[in-house]
């Protein structure tokens, strides 16, 4: 008789314990499932923004101490190679070819191709705030920076993950530290602050418009502002983009440049 009662209590205890354990596990695991890592955020962002290959028609509006200039271009890129041709009237016919670490330029009035190297690579392309080096960087961000999720915030009425990226020691990167606001829902970097090693804010990049293409999101209007110089910024507008199109390898040759 007594044993019977005991067993009943035992059983109840067991039931309660396992129930508690279950709930605990549920909560614990679901926390994990909810807790996304910085690494994952960036990878998801790359899925959207990192281009394996694409054909882009774009427009660049460059403002330099108040003077404004507009450039229009078509760019075809695949992996480490890229081919850009300018289509606005002033620069029509000017072409760039990037193959790996090398950059060549072709101008309509020139009879041969010009190779660009050395300190010229650090100059702003076409006078913009993007240097040739910046454009050339095709290495994935995750290889160059260490990412840390430092919180959440809002940008333009959208909730974002805020990540901080610090340069991996010894890697050659232009900006030592980057603070990135990534749209929680669409995994697009909506705002990026670029810092010098001293902590001084050098540039701020903000995305004004995002579009969806075949299930993937891509920023179509973004502005890079130079924080060291007044009235100096570059607006980059994607007018048309085609992901992973048919690309003939012969595009990335010097012959195609001429």
């Amino acid at each position: 008789m007594n044993t019977n009662k005991l067993t009943k209590i035992d059983f109840n205890m067991k039931l309660i314990t396992s129930f508690l354990i279950m709930i605990f596990c549920l909560i614990f695991f679901s926390q994990n499932m909810m807790a996304i890592t910085a690494e994952e955020i960036i990878n998801k962002r790359d899925e959207n923004e990192y281009i394996e290959s694409a054909r882009i028609e774009a427009k660049m509006i460059i403002t330099n101490s108040g003077r404004e200039m507009t450039k229009e271009m078509v760019s075809i890129s695949k992996g480490e190679d890229a081919f850009v041709e300018f289509t606005n009237s002033r620069d029509r016919g000017t072409k760039y070819l990037k193959k790996g670490d090398n950059l060549w330029m072709f101008f309509p009035d020139a009879e041969d191709v010009v190779k660009i190297s050395g300190h010229m690579m650090n100059q702003g392309m076409m006078g913009s705030d993007f240097s040739y080096q910046d454009i050339m960087e095709s290495t994935k961000m995750t290889e160059l920076y260490n990412f840390e999720l430092i919180g959440e915030g809002e940008y333009n009425n959208r909730t974002c993950y805020i990540l901080e990226a610090t340069a991996v020691e010894g890697k050659e990167v232009s900006y030592y530290r980057r603070k990135i606001w990534i749209d929680k829902e669409r995994f697009i970097a909506l705002k990026e602050e670029l810092y010098a090693q001293s902590g001084r804010l050098l540039k701020v990049s903000e995305v004004k418009e995002v579009d969806e293409f075949e299930g993937r999101y891509y920023p179509v209007i973004s502005i890079m502002e130079n924080k060291l110089r007044e009235n100096t910024s570059t607006e980059f507008i994607v007018e048309k983009i085609e992901f992973n199109p048919e690309i003939d390898e012969s595009i990335f040759t010097l012959e195609n440049l001429q």
């Binding site: 050659e172 990167v173 900006y175 030592y176 010098a196 090693q197 001293s198 001084r200 060291l228």
Partner: protein
């Protein structure tokens, strides 16, 4: 010797003539020395421009650095270690040394950016080698670690910056990462070196090293040394001394750089002018000797008649001329020394005499030109006049000695 006495007697006998001829020689010597001194003074001043404000007498760098020096690279730098520093302090050639880290930077005032040369130095060391502190016209030179910059007023004006303003230097670290250095303008410079005034910005060495991710490294070691006439030899010796510090170092004397010097450029033409002056002196001497010989024809005839050999007559004339040259030379050197002394210590104030706007361009004269001493010039001009006299007197002496005694005595 009898001939010597004769020559001496002749000189003292015709005192006026002796004096006049000696004066010609003296005048030529003085002009030569003065001109030479001014040229040298100007030369030195423009060399000083480089030595005192830019490179000091010598610089120590790593061999590989020098090959690439124009790009102001951040590799192949000298690492500072205690043993190295001790060796420097004990070396007899080195009068003083200071560390310098030079790198490319863009000077940003919020609106414009200008590419300049940034020079990291130590405020407590720089005086040992460069004379920058005395050229500060506003503010003062920084102390180590003070976040202050010192730049030429010309450069500051170009960027619309004033003493006390803040500026930003945009640089790239050793890993090519962008970095900024914020500095307050602690001092403005005005040196006689236009390169320095227009292109250089000085900041504390440790701040530069930190901002570029360099650990106690620097690009140049400036060396001040005593003697700068044989600088190449001294540089080679120092390089040898430093060979046992295994840092593969090279010692570069200041004249190894493509030094901009207006006065060097005109040396060729100036030598020609000096040559002209000497030529005139030579003419004076030759002229005098010939006329003297003509004048003393009878004397010569008499000497011959009295049995003096031809060679003895010639020698006596030559000795006389030499004596003249010596007297003139000494007189000239003495007066020349007096003139140079005045020019060296007080300078010639050309700016006051002529309305000149001395501003740009390697013009080392701020307000005065100072003469320079060059003992070798004195020796040179003295020996030159003596030799010219000797040689120029031989021909007329020979010719006079050859004359028939009878004709000579009757010569009119």
């Amino acid at each position: 010797m009898f001939l010597l006495k004769l020559a001496f007697k002749n000189l003292t006998r015709h005192r006026k003539r002796t004096l006049i001829t000696a004066s010609i020689i003296a005048a030529a010597v003085v002009i030569f020395l003065a001109f030479d001194s001014i040229l040298l003074g100007l030369n030195e001043a423009s060399y000083k421009n480089i030595i005192n404000y830019s490179t000091s007498e010598m610089q120590v760098v790593k061999n590989e650095y020098w090959e690439n020096k124009d790009n102001l690279p951040l590799n192949n730098l000298i690492e500072e270690d205690q043993e190295f520093m001790n060796k420097l302090s004990s070396n007899s050639i080195i009068e003083g040394y200071s560390r310098k880290l030079i790198f490319q930077a863009r000077l940003n005032n919020g609106i414009d950016e200008l590419p300049i040369k940034a020079v990291g130095v130590r405020g407590d060391e720089i005086n040992r080698t460069l004379d920058l502190k005395s050229k500060i016209i506003e503010g003062e030179f920084f102390l180590n670690g003070e976040k202050h910059a010192v730049l030429g007023k010309e450069l500051a004006d170009l960027m619309n910056l004033e003493y006390g303003d803040y500026l930003t230097l945009l640089v790239r670290t050793k890993e090519d990462t962008f970095n900024t250095i914020e500095l307050e303008i602690g001092g403005l410079l005005k040196t006689p070196n236009p390169e320095v005034n227009k292109n250089n910005l000085y900041l504390p060495l440790n701040i530069a090293q930190d901002s570029l991710n360099l650990n106690n490294e620097f690009s140049h070691l400036l060396i001040k040394t005593k003697n700068n006439i044989e600088i190449d030899r001294i540089a080679a010796k120092l390089e040898n001394d430093l060979k046992n510090i295994n840092q593969n170092l090279k010692v570069v004397p200041w004249n190894d750089l493509t030094a901009v010097s207006v006065m060097t450029a005109k040396q060729g033409a100036n030598r020609m002018i000096l040559g002209i002056i000497l030529l005139l002196a030579a003419i004076g001497i030759i002229n005098t000797v010939i006329l003297a010989a003509l004048e003393r024809m009878e004397e010569i005839g008499m000497m011959k008649a009295m049995g003096m050999k031809r060679s003895e007559i010639i020698i006596s004339f030559v000795l006389e001329s030499t004596g003249l040259a010596i007297i003139g030379g000494i007189l000239g050197c003495v007066f020349g020394a007096a003139v140079i002394f005045f020019m060296h210590n007080y300078g010639i104030d050309f700016a006051a005499l002529y309305d000149i706007n001395i501003n740009e361009f390697g013009i080392p004269i701020v307000d005065k030109i100072y003469g320079a001493w060059k003992i070798t010039s004195f020796f040179f001009v003295f020996i030159f006049s003596v030799i010219v006299s000797m040689i120029s007197s031989i021909f007329p002496a020979y010719w006079a000695a050859n004359k028939n005694p009878v004709d000579a005595i009757h010569h009119r």
